[in-house]
Symmetry: C2
Subunit: 318 residues, 2 copies
């Protein structure tokens, strides 16, 4: 892979993770944030984080050590400086429609200002479809969604969602670039609300919600269905390959279980609307498991486990 | 936990796994199968399996070694011999409605014959609701579904589904017994088609199927959504706790995302009917990944990974 010059626009947690990922591949990274105080804190955060990862044996990339990776990441004092000569731009600003429109207007303007007609642009948005905010800008044929999963340093999926205007070689290039970093990008051939991950996640949440609010399962038991039942195999096999292996191939699976799956699915009931009011009982049980004031601690625990799992899968060659 | 005398009815893969699980807890196990040739092969299979697990450091239970566990498992020459004095019976016969009815008739009869009015009975069925086959037998108040997940030795979930007749202390006792073996039983407060695991699995399969058959994702990419996106956290956290951690608690999650989840779900489309004909394209892509003649090899790979994952989670204290 040729070395890229990557501009990261927005230096929150996601922006910093992207910066570390690109540096792990030896790429030059320029971080920009419209809030100078936020940007000011990033070099030290990244320095400490990369060295902590190195100490735990969790640093990505095998050619560069933490100090070398740190040196690749600099802070840019303006958006124009960040994108000047950049070959790839990753936008990571807050999930707000009006802001997205504005930030892409600024990126378009800055690229014009510095005469950069080459850079490809990815947006980290998790919910906004590209056609909704990119239509009016000249960069629309070089732009796509590149939605990472939190925490991106340890979860490999990236959802690539081109718009109707995205040139095919943009998607191909970004997929290859992310793959070279050890990520697992997927490509959606058409934009859909929720992209792919959240559609599947919501299908799971809907049925889990119904099982609990209908009084069939406790919250703890509903979560065990996934943790101790389905997820162990899903770490290695997706749902389609799981089905393929659960019969004499996928055709046999559909022949044997297709009607049952349909019948059971018909029994599932309507799509729930999850509101603050309707979620009282689930929330009450969750507070017994993890009270709100323990959430930060539990998130750290989750992220530590995700890091351990990533190392575990690495060792198995996955 | 007091030592049980466990009768296993049906000595296929699931029956043998149950036998090894109960022996790991120091319980006396009697295996019975109506096909003598099938039963004849089980002692050697179990002996070899337990010693292989021991050699790999994967043997369950820490007080008894493989040889001691082996000694706890014997083959019974008749159903009456198997259930005579048994305190728990686990039924593991093939998934066929007529057979289930017959086998429960036989178990009821055998218990009467030997005057065993005490044994609790669990069925390993994955799809048949207890009310459909237990209504006519005297044992109905001591019986429930105890559905394990394949391979039960390494996947901890067991779905307990009492019928309307099951006495509450039966469910409580079986839950405690399985928990003492290191399993993670859940209790459904009402029987539902598909129980809990398959309802959630089918919700996932339906949306994954739609994404692929609508041409949005390739099979490989659709599986990556789960493998590299959702499953890593689901190994540690169920879907409800995941949501709880993805906002400032679950109420905040519902407030922020409830409407979006509903909107995206409305966009998902109808429940598909998976048939041999309609699955051609998915099957074609799956054959490129794992041709049918490589399925046994891939299943071994899956089970090896599940064993490794179980050890990994054990080490993290999960």
């Amino acid at each position: 892979m040729e070395k890229e010059i990557v501009a990261i626009v927005g230096s929150g947690l996601v922006g910093k993770s992207w910066a570390m990922l690109f540096a792990s591949g030896g790429h030059e990274v320029r971080l920009f944030d419209s809030i100078p105080e936020v940007l000011a804190g990033t070099p030290k955060f990244i320095h400490d984080k990369l060295h902590a990862l190195e100490a735990k044996g969790q640093l990505k990339a095998h050619k560069l050590n933490a100090t070398e990776q740190c040196k690749l990441i600099t802070a840019a004092t303006s958006l124009a400086d960040a994108v000047n000569g950049a070959t790839y731009i990753q936008e990571c600003t807050p999930e707000n429609f009006e802001w997205k429109v504005k930030i892409f207007e600024s990126i378009d303007k800055a690229l014009n200002e510095v005469g950069n007609t080459r850079a490809y642009i990815g947006s980290s948005t998790s919910t906004i479809m590209p056609s909704k905010f990119i239509a009016n800008y000249g960069i629309k044929d070089r732009m796509l969604i590149a939605h990472p999963i939190n925490p991106p340093y340890f979860v490999k999926l990236v959802e690539l969602v081109p718009s109707e205007w995205t040139k095919p070689d943009v998607t191909t290039h970004v997929r290859a670039l992310l793959t070279s970093l050890g990520m697992k990008p997927i490509v959606m051939n058409k934009e859909l609300p929720g992209f792919a991950l959240n559609r599947v996640q919501y299908a799971i949440l809907n049925e889990t919600w119904r099982l609990v609010t209908d009084g069939i399962l406790s919250v703890e038991d509903a979560d065990i269905v996934m943790k101790e039942g389905l997820a162990p195999r899903y770490v290695f096999l997706g749902p389609l390959e799981t089905a393929h292996l659960n019969a004499d191939g996928f055709k046999d699976y559909c022949k044997r279980y297709g009607q049952v799956i349909n019948d059971v699915s018909q029994d599932m009931g309507g799509i729930p609307l999850m509101t603050e009011d309707s979620c009282q009982e689930i929330d009450r049980q969750l507070q017994d498991m993890v009270p709100n004031d323990k959430l930060p601690e539990r998130r750290n625990w989750r992220d530590e486990n995700l890091a351990e799992l990533a190392t575990f899968k690495e060792k198995l060659g996955l």
